[in-house]
């Protein structure tokens, strides 16, 4: 249950898996993303509402063949350069994309968590998305005759999140912006949670939710594991790092050099922290 991130990724993440690393600006599981790069997983289908820097790195490192997403930018900064290079220039190789809206993705995770084959929403109407995304269909209300958008449930092989803490049994506590993390874990066959701290008892916190240990496959103690995202109560968002990422990621060589030095060239997240210096 409580294990190292290295062992968790080695055991639970396989080549060809569908992964969801979730966290909506807050609590993005960067350390787990790095470990997947370190262990050179390939042919992954990665799912995430906002691919963000975490998937920019996985894409640029060549781990990903398909991306399902709804907004692929560097929030407040601009483009996601490795994502763009993969879509526009097939570098390091072609990237299949499956594109939705935020509301659609949230509905898909919720359907996955609920054991339903699909979810529905008032969405996508009049847009060009259904022309290009085959996972947007319609369903008719049997009572009113209204036509609604239907989207299939997302049920990843592995759901991966970062949280504030866990107790020694593996019960996980999360607070602040909750995003779709509960849904991502519950929709997945297996799950990994990195946490800021492991404690004897989980003190009650306003706004907190708890994921019982029995819906989590592995809990890993990785302080700062969301960096440059943050964990409310433990850290603040490293906005300077997000801005700096633009220059690092714009150039293929600069990106590869950075990944080789700070991710591939470090043994674990603690070494990465020292290497990057935060």
């Amino acid at each position: 249950m409580i294990t190292s991130l290295r062992d968790a990724v080695a055991e639970l993440v396989h080549d060809g898996d569908t992964l969801a690393l979730e966290g909506f600006t807050h609590l993005i599981p960067h350390a787990a993303g790095h470990e997947i790069i370190r262990q050179q997983r390939r042919n992954l289908h990665v799912v995430r509402m906002t691919p963000d820097m975490v998937y920019d790195q996985l894409i640029g490192a060549g781990c990903v063949t398909k991306l399902t997403f709804s907004w692929g930018g560097n929030p407040g900064v601009g483009s996601l350069q490795r994502f763009r290079d993969a879509v526009e220039n097939q570098w390091p190789h072609p990237l299949e994309i499956e594109e939705h809206s935020h509301a659609g993705m949230a509905t898909r995770y919720a359907a996955g968590a609920a054991g339903l084959p699909f979810g529905m929403l008032r969405g996508y109407v009049g847009t060009d998305l259904p022309k290009h995304t085959t996972t947007i269909k319609t369903v008719q209300c049997p009572f009113t005759g209204e036509v609604l958008a239907a989207v299939p449930a997302i049920n990843p092989d592995v759901g991966i999140i970062h949280a504030q803490r866990a107790d020694r049994s593996g019960n996980v506590q999360i607070w602040g912006l909750l995003g779709v993390q509960k849904e991502a874990v519950l929709a997945s066959t297996r799950s990994i949670v990195t946490v800021e701290e492991i404690v004897d008892e989980l003190p009650a916190v306003p706004g907190a939710i708890v994921l019982p240990a029995w819906v989590v496959s592995a809990v890993c103690h990785v302080p700062g594991g969301a960096h440059p995202s943050f964990a409310m109560g433990f850290s603040v968002r490293d906005n300077a790092f997000y801005k700096a990422w633009d220059a690092i990621s714009k150039d293929r060589d600069a990106f590869t050099t950075w990944i080789d030095k700070h991710v591939v060239g470090t043994a674990d997240f603690a070494e990465y922290r020292e290497s990057v210096g935060f």
């Binding site: 929030p75 407040g76 526009e88 009049g126 997000y242």
Partner: protein
């Protein structure tokens, strides 16, 4: 005369509109990060009835003391009346019609206020891959009304969007009703040159006001379709020093 940037000009004009809307009982704003969030936070400080800020990250009634740099800043969660999950914010709040004003922007906008934030060029082989839809399609569908804030240029204000990410008025009047959309659609387009609003009869965007010092020719040159001007074309009031001072105190040091 106060000096100001074009961003400040757009923000102040957006804030004024939000202040008027809040006074009229339309106070719930679904705000993205950037200019809309800044405008809504400015309006909170300038007007007696404060807009209620709702962020897609799940924050309802946020009252940040400083401007958030991302939609998920801790400051937003800490100052909110309620924080809910992302599935809930889209289903129970936006989709259910609890948002009065949504904001949109993009790389391209057409005369019927349809917007592209997905790709320039073809979808399969894009010239430029943009971030994509995010919350836009459902904001466009479900918000009571939509405010567009976007820099104006002939490359951006186009005859036809390369990709329709969010629906304005489609091909013109009646299309929103035909598609069963519940929200009112784009009511205001605020650019760095002018204000545009849909013609009530055709839903085509029409210039209703120019910013101080801007000419019709400049707007025509910055619009990719044969843009029309309202008969009673107005000029927007200069940002006041009070507005600008409040705005600048908002910005992170």
């Amino acid at each position: 005369m106060a000096e100001y940037t074009t961003d400040e000009l757009m923000i102040v004009n957006a804030a004024r509109q939000l202040g008027a809307l809040a006074a009229a009982g339309k106070s719930r704003c679904f705000v993205g990060i950037g200019l809309p969030s800044t405008a809504a936070n400015l309006a909170r400080r300038l007007y007696p009835v404060e807009p209620v800020l709702i962020y897609e990250s799940g924050c309802i009634g946020s009252k940040p003391t400083r401007l958030p740099l991302s939609i998920g800043d801790g400051e937003l969660a800490e100052t909110s009346d309620a924080v809910v999950s992302v599935p809930e914010i889209f289903a129970y709040w936006l989709q259910a019609g609890r948002v009065d004003i949504g904001f949109l922007s993009g790389a391209q906008l057409d005369r019927y206020a349809n917007i592209n934030s997905t790709v320039i060029g073809s979808y399969e082989s894009p010239k430029t891959r943009l971030p994509g839809a995010g919350g836009a399609p459902e904001i466009a569908a479900s918000a009571g009304a939509v405010m567009v804030i976007m820099r104006q240029s002939a490359r951006a204000f186009v005859e036809r969007c390369d990709f329709r990410t969010s629906f304005g008025y489609g091909g013109g009047k009646g299309d929103r009703e035909r598609f069963g959309l519940r929200g009112g659609g784009p009511k205001w387009v605020i650019t760095d040159l002018a204000l545009m609003e849909p013609d009530p009869d055709t839903c085509e965007l029409v210039v209703v006001a120019l910013h101080p010092g801007i000419t019709r020719d400049q707007v025509v040159a910055a619009t990719g379709w044969a843009v029309r001007f309202a008969d009673d074309l107005e000029t927007t009031a200069e940002p006041t020093s009070g507005e600008l001072d409040t705005l600048r105190r908002l910005q992170p040091a």
